[in-house]
């Protein structure tokens, strides 16, 4: 039982190799038994871990803990492991039929699953770097999988920027090794407050935060994300936005929240970084006309919200940030998957050209509506829960509450645009009458998960973290009235301002960033982070 995490890492990688090497056109059926084994063994492991949390520390090879490769499983990364296994099962299901003849696609996906699980479980800073780099390589291959012109450009920029971020992270790790003499995260966490050479640790902190910031696409460093997520195949977009971006947020929780946070006060900067990228993401999302670009820019804004929660600034708001990671995976995954079906049916990505999805694809449209309600924070759905938990810690600060409402209003405005394509009369010829069951089933499961988390978040959090979260009174009519008020305001703003597409709005849409500019911003970001750390 204690060695089950090794199975999580090696089973997908072995299956991936078998899929790649064996010459049979049906060999990728193997991914389903693989996911089944992973789910069952994960459940067994969690039950065993709940009885005895000490089995979470794994030291390989009988070496001393300071030089051995170690795994550490606790409440934080076990939830992420569960999310990863769940999300990959959904993606395998969804992509299975449409990519049936593409063995390599499943090879990359299974490989990515293994590497991602490794990233979550390892307790070694250098192994984290290796996993980050391999994830960047695999994601590049998945983005450029169809070899479209834009996909190749986006993939190249993503690869170079992501490897820059990894290198900055590596310099930080190197400095930490120089100070501590080992790379074990758990041991480093214990000795961090008593370190004497704080200058080098501060520099390392700044470098690591910059690396994480680029991987998470916070405000000035987001240039690669909408390009990459917008041009990838829909199942890959869902995977990237739903899961792979969360690797950086997991690192933020691990390294900022648990390791550096105690001796160095930096949470205010992270908080405002999150706030600015939430606002900027919403502004850019509002003016887009491409369905997948809208969803991709919203990832930037939602990641900003998670940064706010995970800055550990105030009270229990980190619980909100943590829950928002899971919720965002659920509803953004649902939105991208449904958008994939709609784009395939209408053969266009332009929001204004698609109309009447409820008439042509009723079930897909209802699922899309659930995703929209969830991301705009409608009560009863999961997005509402985590957003209110985030806001609750700041309820006394008027200005921050105003900014939160502004972000939510922007989300509603841009999703009014998406929601409008569900209604009306279809005037384009639709290629497919009905999405296949292998696509509808996983989407329905995700939609049900969205409702379940929205209603039963309290027992879930209490079970995982032993903290009783702030309770939301769903019987209170005011929350529904408040939501209706914001929706009507947002819809009117959309209808009378955004739809006209005035010149300044078009100007914002046409803003692009060249690669040297993105690198310049990366260095400016790095210098300012280090400066903040030294001045604080």
């Amino acid at each position: 039982m204690i060695h089950l995490p090794v199975l999580f890492l090696f089973l997908p990688i072995v299956i991936a190799l078998i899929i790649y090497l064996i010459q049979s056109s049906h060999i990728h059926w193997l991914v389903f038994p693989m996911q089944l084994i992973l789910i069952v063994s994960f459940i067994f492991y969690v039950i065993a871990w709940k009885n005895d949390p000490s089995i979470g520390v794994l030291v390989f090879g009988g070496w001393d803990e300071t030089i051995a490769i170690t795994f550490l499983l606790d409440a934080l990364n076990l939830t992420f492991v569960g999310l990863t296994i769940f999300f990959f099962s959904i993606i395998f299901f969804y992509a299975f039929k449409s990519n049936y003849h593409e063995k390599k696609f499943f090879f990359f996906l299974a490989f990515l699953e293994s590497v991602f699980l490794g990233l979550l479980m390892t307790n070694d800073l250098f192994n984290l770097f290796v996993f980050l780099e391999v994830i960047a390589l695999l994601v590049t291959l998945l983005i450029t999988y169809r070899k479209g012109e834009n996909a190749l450009k986006a993939g190249l920029q993503y690869l170079l920027l992501a490897s820059m971020a990894s290198i900055l992270y590596l310099i930080g790790v190197l400095l930490l090794y120089y100070v501590f003499g080992h790379l074990n995260i758990a041991l480093m966490k214990d000795t961090m407050p008593s370190v004497l050479n704080t200058n080098l640790v501060k520099l390392a902190y700044g470098l690591i935060i910059t690396g994480i910031g680029l991987k998470a696409a916070v405000f000035p460093l987001y240039a690669w994300l909408p390009k990459a997520h917008g041009v990838a195949p829909s199942s890959v977009s869902a995977l990237l936005s739903g899961l792979v971006v969360k690797a950086a947020l997991y690192l933020l929780m691990r390294l900022h929240g648990e390791m550096f946070h105690a001796p160095y006060e930096f949470s205010t900067v992270i908080f405002w970084l999150g706030m600015i990228s939430a606002l900027a993401g919403v502004i850019f999302a509002m003016v887009q006309k491409d369905l997948k670009q809208i969803l991709a820019y919203h990832t930037v804004s939602q990641v900003g919200l998670m940064f706010i929660g995970l800055s550990f600034n105030q009270g229990n708001s980190f619980l909100g940030g943590w829950l928002h990671i899971l919720n965002h995976a659920v509803f953004k995954g649902l939105l991208f998957l449904a958008a994939g079906v709609i784009i395939k049916a209408y053969q266009t990505k332009k929001v204004y050209d698609i109309q009447g999805v409820f008439k042509t694809l009723p079930w897909t449209a209802s699922l899309m509506l659930i995703g929209i309600l969830s991301i705009t924070g409608a009560p009863l759905f999961n997005g509402y829960v985590s957003k209110s938990m985030l806001k609750y810690a700041f309820k006394d600060e008027m200005f921050i509450m105003f900014l939160f409402n502004l972000i939510n209003l922007g989300t509603i405005i841009s999703f009014s645009k998406v929601a409008m394509m569900l209604f009306g009369k279809p005037h384009l010829k639709v290629l497919i009458k009905r999405a296949s069951i292998s696509q509808h089933l996983p989407m329905t499961i995700v939609a049900i998960t969205s409702l379940v988390i929205g209603l039963f978040y309290q027992p879930l959090i209490t079970w995982i973290y032993d903290i009783v979260p702030y309770a939301i009174h769903l019987e209170d009519a005011r929350i529904y009235l408040e939501y209706i008020f914001w929706v009507s305001l947002g819809f009117n703003l959309y209808y009378f301002i955004l739809k006209r597409d005035y010149r300044p709005l078009a100007k914002i849409r046409e803003l692009t960033m060249t690669f040297p500019t993105a690198n310049f911003l990366l260095l400016v970001f790095l210098v300012s982070m280090v400066a903040f750390l030294y001045l604080a």
């Binding site: 030089i67 780099e133 450009k153 190249l156 290198i167 590596l170 060249t514």
Partner: protein, 106 residues
């Protein structure tokens, strides 16, 4: 002295990333930064002036072997990233007829 030289290599690479206008130069700049990091880490591990960590029974002062083990991994990963980036730039060149970032990010 040597750590400062490796830091200089890293900084030159960073300048290259900001200033270079073509894909190939950007890829090379990224490779330079990585080489600088590798040199820096190896230097920091060998500050005690020891010999390579293979014991011959005479020299008892050896350098820290962990940086060497880590950096060989970094070299492998770096070469993979460079080769993938170069392949992608060839494909981008075939599609666009140009390797200038200005023509590509439109």
């Amino acid at each position: 002295m040597e750590p400062l030289l490796s830091i200089a290599v890293i900084l030159i690479g960073m300048y290259g990333l900001i200033a270079s206008e073509t894909i190939i130069k950007s890829v090379f700049s990224a490779t330079m930064i990585e080489s600088g990091v590798i040199l820096l880490f190896l230097n920091l591990g060998a500050l005690n002036g020891g010999v390579i960590p293979i014991s011959d029974g005479v020299n008892l002062v050896i350098v820290d072997p962990i940086p060497q083990a880590l950096m060989i991994t970094t070299i492998v990963i770096g070469s993979t990233v460079t080769s993938l980036a170069l392949i992608l730039s060839i494909k981008v060149f075939h599609n666009n007829g140009s390797i200038h970032w200005k023509d590509i990010t439109k």
